[in-house]
């Protein structure tokens, strides 16, 4: 259920930002400042590839939300989301508001999070402890992200 909710959030977020994400195909190469996984690029991607990746990410958010072929498509979605949003932040301004969304999707995509609310439920049953692991990791990441921000603020304030 948590994966479904996070997937729904990602789907809505990507839908709202869809046109905005496509606009980066027209930005001049001089403004390209790659970060994170996009650092492997020497220059901006061709426009057709930017559009394809945004559309692919949007489509995969639906399969992630529904738990379709989770073991294959959810990690693919997590990486596509990581790439698409990192690409968006590779033009001089990093959108920190998207950090936790990406990390939470990564955790859920790599965890067994499609055992109950899913298109095809797996035959095996896992313990609540196993399912709780991803939730605990998400909580840890959330708390630490705010800790880092708060710690930086206090350190700066003296």
């Amino acid at each position: 259920m948590l994966r479904g909710l996070v997937g729904l959030f990602a789907l809505i977020y990507l839908s709202i930002r869809f046109v905005h994400l496509l606009r980066y195909r027209d930005f001049p190469a001089s403004q390209f400042a790659p970060i994170g996984v996009v650092s492997v690029l020497q220059g901006p991607l061709p426009a057709w590839l930017v559009v394809s990746l945004v559309v692919l990410t949007w489509g995969l958010s639906i399969t992630f939300m529904l738990g379709v072929w989770h073991r294959l498509l959810s990690p693919l979605f997590a990486f596509a989301l990581l790439w698409t949003l990192t690409y968006r932040s590779s033009w001089g301004m990093i959108f920190h508001t998207e950090n936790l969304l990406v990390i939470h999707v990564l955790v859920l995509a790599l965890a067994p999070s499609a055992d109950t609310f899913a298109w095809r439920k797996p035959a095996l049953t896992r313990s609540a402890w196993t399912h709780g692991l991803a939730i605990r990791l998400m909580c840890l990441v959330t708390v630490l992200a705010y800790f880092v921000a708060g710690w930086a603020k206090l350190r700066n304030a003296g």
Binding site: H20, Q31, I35, T86, H96, E98, N99, V148, A152, N156
Partner: protein, 148 residues
């Protein structure tokens, strides 16, 4: 064994998340960050570009980003910066485009506007938000008539 693996996983993730803040110098990245908006001292003086419409004898109206590019503030800012980098001809072209949109706008505040101006202005952020919104310094980048 399962508990040990879980603890190791949690520890690794925790180190990954906090690591950017402890690097020297701290490093901002995506999706792991040191959240520099909190960890750097900000210069209160900031230079931004503004596009304004002006009616004869009236106050200037700072135009919203949709007159420059679209609803996205950052993209409107990038459009002006790009025109600045390209030179006076590009700024004049941008000014003309904005003036056409002002001329077509169904906005009573802009109904009497006759001129569009693009400025680069330096503000003191603390003073600005204390009520003194006048720029410390400004440079006119382009000026054009509103096309009606």
């Amino acid at each position: 064994m399962r508990l040990l693996l879980a603890l190791v996983l949690h520890a690794l993730v925790a180190i990954l998340v906090v690591a950017p803040a402890f690097r020297d110098p701290p490093r901002d990245d995506f999706p792991l960050s040191n959240y520099p908006m909190f960890s750097e001292r900000k210069d209160p003086r900031v230079t931004i570009q503004q596009v304004v419409a002006r009616a004869p004898g009236g106050p200037e109206v700072v135009l919203p980003p949709r007159f420059v590019a679209n609803e996205e503030v950052m993209q409107a800012a990038a459009t002006i910066r790009r025109a600045m980098s390209a030179g006076p001809a590009a700024l004049s072209q941008l000014c003309s485009e904005v003036s056409e949109r002002v001329g077509r706008a169904d906005d009573p505040e802009l109904g009497l506007a006759t001129q569009v101006e693009i400025y680069s202005r330096r503000f003191h952020a603390v003073k600005y938000f204390s009520g003194d919104t006048s720029p410390e310094h400004e440079e006119t980048l382009a000026r054009c008539q509103v096309a009606r």
